[in-house]
C-alpha cells in the first residue's frame, strides 16, 4: 500500500469531532467516493473520533489516501493515549458499552468500512485503523 498524501487533525473537544467529520467528507469528495460511501466513511469517523474523545481522553486522527495494485482508498487512523481496552472482543460486540452510549460505535463503524484493525494496550492507549476502498 503506498500513500499519496496524509493529514493529521487533533481530537480534543466535541467541536473537533465535527471538524474531523468535515475533514473526512472533504477528502472523500476529493477522491470521488459515491455519496453512500462518503456517508459511511464520515459516520464511521464520527463514531471513532467520539470514542477517542470520550473513552481515550482525546487524541488525533490521521487521514491518508492509500493505493494498492488495483484501487485507491481512504485510510483513517484514530489514536488516543487513554486507558485502553482490556477486552477488545467484548468492545466490538453490539450493545456493549462502558459509557452511556448505545454500544454501536466500534462494531457499527466496523460494518461501515472494508478494513478494520484495532490495537489496544491497557494503560497505553488505543489505535483504530480503518480503510474504505473505492
Amino acid at each position: 500500500m503506498k500513500s499519496a498524501k496524509q493529514e493529521t487533525v487533533p481530537i480534543a473537544t466535541s467541536s473537533d469531532v465535527v471538524l474531523a467529520r468535515q475533514k473526512v467528507r472533504q477528502w472523500a469528495i476529493e477522491m470521488k467516493f459515491s455519496l453512500v460511501d462518503q456517508t459511511k466513511l464520515v459516520t464511521a469517523a464520527s463514531e471513532l473520533a467520539r470514542n477517542a474523545l470520550e473513552h481515550g481522553k482525546g487524541g488525533h486522527m490521521m487521514i491518508e489516501q492509500v493505493e494498492n495494485a488495483i484501487k485507491s482508498g481512504l485510510k483513517l487512523v484514530f489514536e488516543d493515549l487513554g486507558p485502553g481496552i482490556s477486552d477488545i472482543e467484548a468492545a466490538l460486540r453490539d450493545g456493549f458499552t462502558t459509557g452511556g452510549g448505545m454500544g454501536l460505535g466500534l462494531g457499527g463503524s466496523k460494518r461501515l468500512v472494508n478494513d478494520f484493525q484495532i490495537e489496544s494496550e491497557p494503560g497505553k492507549g488505543t489505535r483504530v485503523t480503518v480503510v474504505r476502498w473505492k
Partner: protein
Amino acid sequence: MERIPILRMGQFLLVTIQVDMHDRLAVQLQDDLTEKISECSSRGVLIDISTLEIVDSFIGRMLANIAAMARVLDAETVVVGMQPAVAITLVELGMSLTGVRTALNVETGMELLYELRGDFHSENGG
C-alpha cells in the same frame, strides 16, 4: 450559547436541524424540546433532518430519546426528510430508530401528526 431554534405552530413544535451538530448541541436540543413541550402543552413534534449529512449513533440516540420523552409528555414525534444515503448508513451502523416515527417530508410528516392526534380536521380550523 449556540442553540437550535424551536418554532411553535399551534399545537405542534417544529425543528429544522441545519447545522453539523456537535454532541453538546444535540443534548441541548433534547433538553430544550422537552421543556418546550411541557411549556406549550404541545401535542406533537416535527423534526426535519433533510439537511443532515450523517446520523451517527449519538444523534440517533438523541432522536430516540426525544421521541421517548415526548411520548411520556403526551406528544408524538415525527422525524422527516432523512436522506437515502443516511438511511442506508444508519441501518448498517445497527440503528433502526425503533420507536421513532418517520415521514418522507415535512408535508407528509404534518399529515401524520394530525392523524396521530386523531383530530385531522383541526388543520384548517386550528
